[in-house]
């Protein structure tokens, strides 16, 4: 057998863990042992995990802080939901969903590309602020966008529903702040997990490819990278576009899992962008599997705390602070190292035990 390098091994083990979890969850679901809450959370968790992976590529490997990834998710969600809703009765389910997936991903990537051209001339805080603004623009444009369809074709308006001037039998597809209602529900847990694994493989291969190495070189020292002749803009654009595309896939899953899709601050505004950044930071910048774990934990947590009634948001915040400190505070890291409690040490112990057996 060919010897695998460390990161590939890690990828295979994280995929194995996901597959095992998938089998456990689907068996429990099939036998009716999974609570409705948990089975309802399966697809959203995968969707958020995908966006977190996308953002991690941007933050961890491109080294640029983006606060607009909810915007890309939003683009993916709305374009795909629009497509699915428009052709609901004209294209059969399976090809329509595949097309919706491609369309959502493509448009998120396109917006990522377009926004990256001016934005990547900036770096650091400036880039963060511009991406934040971009996310808000997307959300606000969708909130005033009206699209209808009648026998004469499509009608667009940025004003209100009346200015669409549709025939009497026209159907409003995107209704401003009321968003898109009645998207066919097609995101299943199986599809979500497959896409999640695919995203992990793609990002893993990307960061270890020639392009990925160049991106990392640019992140570590842009001047040095420029000196050896790397075309900075090209690599940055590629990485940012892929990052946006993966976020778009998350958006497609999200949109096809919920009947009423609206663009509010909570689900596609800066709140969500920051939430995703929290997943990335907690899971470890540059660590894709870590992002997935953090997403699962942080999405489940507020739901698990429902028993605490109104205190749950408070407790959630405190737990979040606690987790961040546990993971990143230097003093605590030192303590964990001394007492054999770092993730690596725990994993090593686990492995050793296996070898003994």
């Amino acid at each position: 057998m060919k010897k695998l390098n460390g990161s590939t091994k890690k990828l295979i083990s994280s995929i194995a863990v996901i597959v095992v979890l998938y089998i456990v969850m689907s068996t429990m679901q099939a036998t009716g042992n999974l609570s409705s809450l948990m089975s309802g959370l399966l697809v959203p968790v995968c969707a958020y995990a995908l966006v977190a992976i996308g953002l991690n590529l941007c933050v961890g490997y491109l080294g640029e802080l983006s606060l607009g990834h909810a915007g890309f998710m939003c683009v993916g969600a709305f374009t795909s939901a629009f497509f699915s809703k428009t052709f609901q009765n004209e294209i059969p389910d399976v090809p329509r969903f595949i097309l919706a997936l491609i369309i959502g991903t493509f448009f998120a990537a396109l917006f990522g590309f377009l926004i990256a051209i001016p934005v990547l001339r900036l770096s650091g805080d400036y880039l963060a602020i511009v991406t934040l603004a971009f996310g808000e623009i997307i959300k606000n444009v969708i909130n005033v966008l009206y699209v209808g369809r009648d026998a004469n074709g499509f009608h667009f308006s940025l004003k209100d529903m009346m200015s669409l001037n549709m025939d009497f039998d026209g159907v409003v597809l995107v209704n401003g702040a009321q968003g898109i209602t009645g998207t066919p529900r097609q995101s299943t847990f199986t599809i979500s997990v497959l896409l999640l694994i695919l995203a992990l493989i793609v990002t893993h291969n990307f960061v270890n490819s020639r392009t990925g190495r160049a991106v990392k070189a640019i992140r570590d020292n842009q001047i040095a990278a420029e000196t050896v002749g790397l075309p900075i803009t090209k690599y940055k654009l590629t990485a940012f576009t892929i990052s946006a595309a993966i976020a778009g896939v998350g958006g497609v899953l999200y949109a096809h899992n919920i009947n009423s899709l609206t663009a509010t601050t909570n689900n596609f505004g800066y709140n969500m962008s920051i939430m995703i950044l929290v997943y990335v930071v907690l899971g470890g910048i540059g660590n894709f599997s870590g992002s997935v774990v953090a997403t699962v934990v942080l999405t489940m947590l507020p739901e698990m705390l429902r028993g605490l009634s109104t205190y749950r948001m408070l407790i959630y915040s405190i737990v979040l602070i606690g987790l961040m400190l546990f993971n990143w505070a230097p003093g605590i890291l030192k303590f964990r190292e001394e007492h054999g409690l770092t993730t690596k040490q725990l994993l090593d112990k686990f492995k050793k035990k296996k070898e003994v057996q």
Partner: protein, 395 residues
């Protein structure tokens, strides 16, 4: 060795906590359940609404009002001889969170849902209840997307078309204004929904809309631009389909720029007189459509308002009143079916769909309320005008 023990025990604790999490998710009771029902067979009524976040006050009003009604009914012997247990879950007015809350309630064993409070979230949840065949009665989600295509979802509040259309008709019939200016919240489904239907009807009844100005939820502290434009367009009546906090700001700023058209709000304006640090005299002469006035003098309203003030503090708004009525409407419909809590969710749902269409209910928010098969309520919206710091009916 010690370290090893520590790490193993930590792992064990982690694993155990995972299972505990699953267990409580799949099990029966949660601590938010507010009526002790161990072992007893009860009606399980769930509620969903925002009790944290920006729209929290609406959700809290609904939560508290349902609690009052449930307590009253339980004291009086319950429905068909069975008491009600009630569980309210937070959704932060977000669609996805609302579905999560719904799933939590389903795990708890909910048979009937009274919720959700906000329109966007409600549309998402009603698609779920429709699939699961659970009867849903929403106190305040007024959008048509809530009831469209869902035979199991009924509204207690007026639907958006109803409010927009009635307002336009009322203005035209009474000749309140000829040049209409509109300010609305384009990021809010409720506000844009009412606006759209108002504008549609306005065209039919010959009202001229001279200015249409929008704001968004991110940007609702200064309305001087919108007011200035309406003033410049010569609007003599402003139609303001949004909530009362923003309403108080609009009134204040219009007064400051000496712009005094007739102000016409819809049911979201209810609560205007209770805004802190708001000069109530500015609200004099404001028209609003509301199904409920907290200072009404009939016994039912007095009883409800005093109980609410005593238990939770503050004056209940129309959301709360709708929710309070909702429980009694469910009671009346359930009594008509003669079912017991042993019935399956589907049986209850089908029976209630039949029964609620025959209910004729007099409550806090309207008299002789009836429902059609689309799920919309028919009750007459009351237009009131604010005079001397109180509501005065204008009919």
């Amino acid at each position: 060795m010690k370290k090893k023990f520590l790490s193993v025990s930590l792992c064990a604790a982690l694993a155990a906590s995972l299972f505990v999490g699953c267990g409580s998710g799949g099990g029966a009771a949660t601590s938010t359940e507010t009526v002790e029902t161990s072992g007893e067979l009860t009606w399980r009524i769930g509620g969903i609404g925002p009790i944290t976040g920006g729209a929290a006050q609406y959700g809290q009003g609904v939560m508290n009002a349902i609690q009052i009604a449930v307590d009253e009914i339980n004291e009086a012997g319950g429905i068909n001889g069975y008491k009600i247990s009630y569980n309210f879950q937070d959704d932060e007015a977000d669609s996805q969170k609302s579905v999560n809350a719904y799933n939590t309630l389903k795990d708890w064993g909910m048979q009937i849902l009274e919720g959700t409070v906000t329109s966007g979230a409600c549309a998402a949840v009603s698609a779920e209840t429709y699939n699961d065949r659970i009867f849903q009665l929403t106190p305040s989600a007024s959008s048509t997307s809530v009831t469209e295509g869902h035979d199991n979802t009924f509204q207690i509040c007026f639907s958006d078309p109803n409010q927009g259309t009635v307002s336009a008709d009322y203005i035209a019939d009474n000749g309140l204004g000829t040049k209409i200016g509109i300010i609305y919240d384009s990021s809010d489904p409720y506000s844009s929904g009412v606006y759209q239907n108002f504008a549609k009807e306005a065209a039919n009844v010959g009202l001229e809309i001279v200015a249409t100005e929008a704001f968004t939820s991110d940007n609702k502290t200064d309305f001087s631009t919108q007011l200035q434009k309406c003033k410049a367009a010569g609007a003599d009546l402003l139609f303001l389909p949004f909530y009362y906090q923003e309403g108080s700001v609009v009134l204040k700023q219009a007064h400051d720029m000496a712009y005094e058209p007739i102000m016409f709000g819809v049911d979201g304006f209810d609560g205007l007189l209770g805004v802190k640090d708001f000069d109530v005299s500015l609200a004099e002469g404001v028209y609003l459509l509301t199904p409920f006035a907290a200072d009404a003098t009939d016994d039912a309203t007095k009883n409800f308002v005093s109980k609410y003030e005593e238990q939770f503090g503050g004056t209940p708004n129309q959301f709360a009143a709708d929710a309070y009525d909702g429980v009694y409407i469910l009671k009346e419909a359930l009594e008509a079916t003669g079912l017991t809590p042993e019935a399956s969710n589907e049986e209850i749902c089908e029976a209630l769909i039949e029964a609620i269409q025959n209910v004729n209910y007099d409550g806090l928010t309207g008299e002789a309320m009836t429902w059609n098969e689309k799920g919309e309520v028919s009750k007459s919206p009351k237009a009131v005008i604010i005079e001397n710091g109180g509501y005065v009916s204008v009919e």
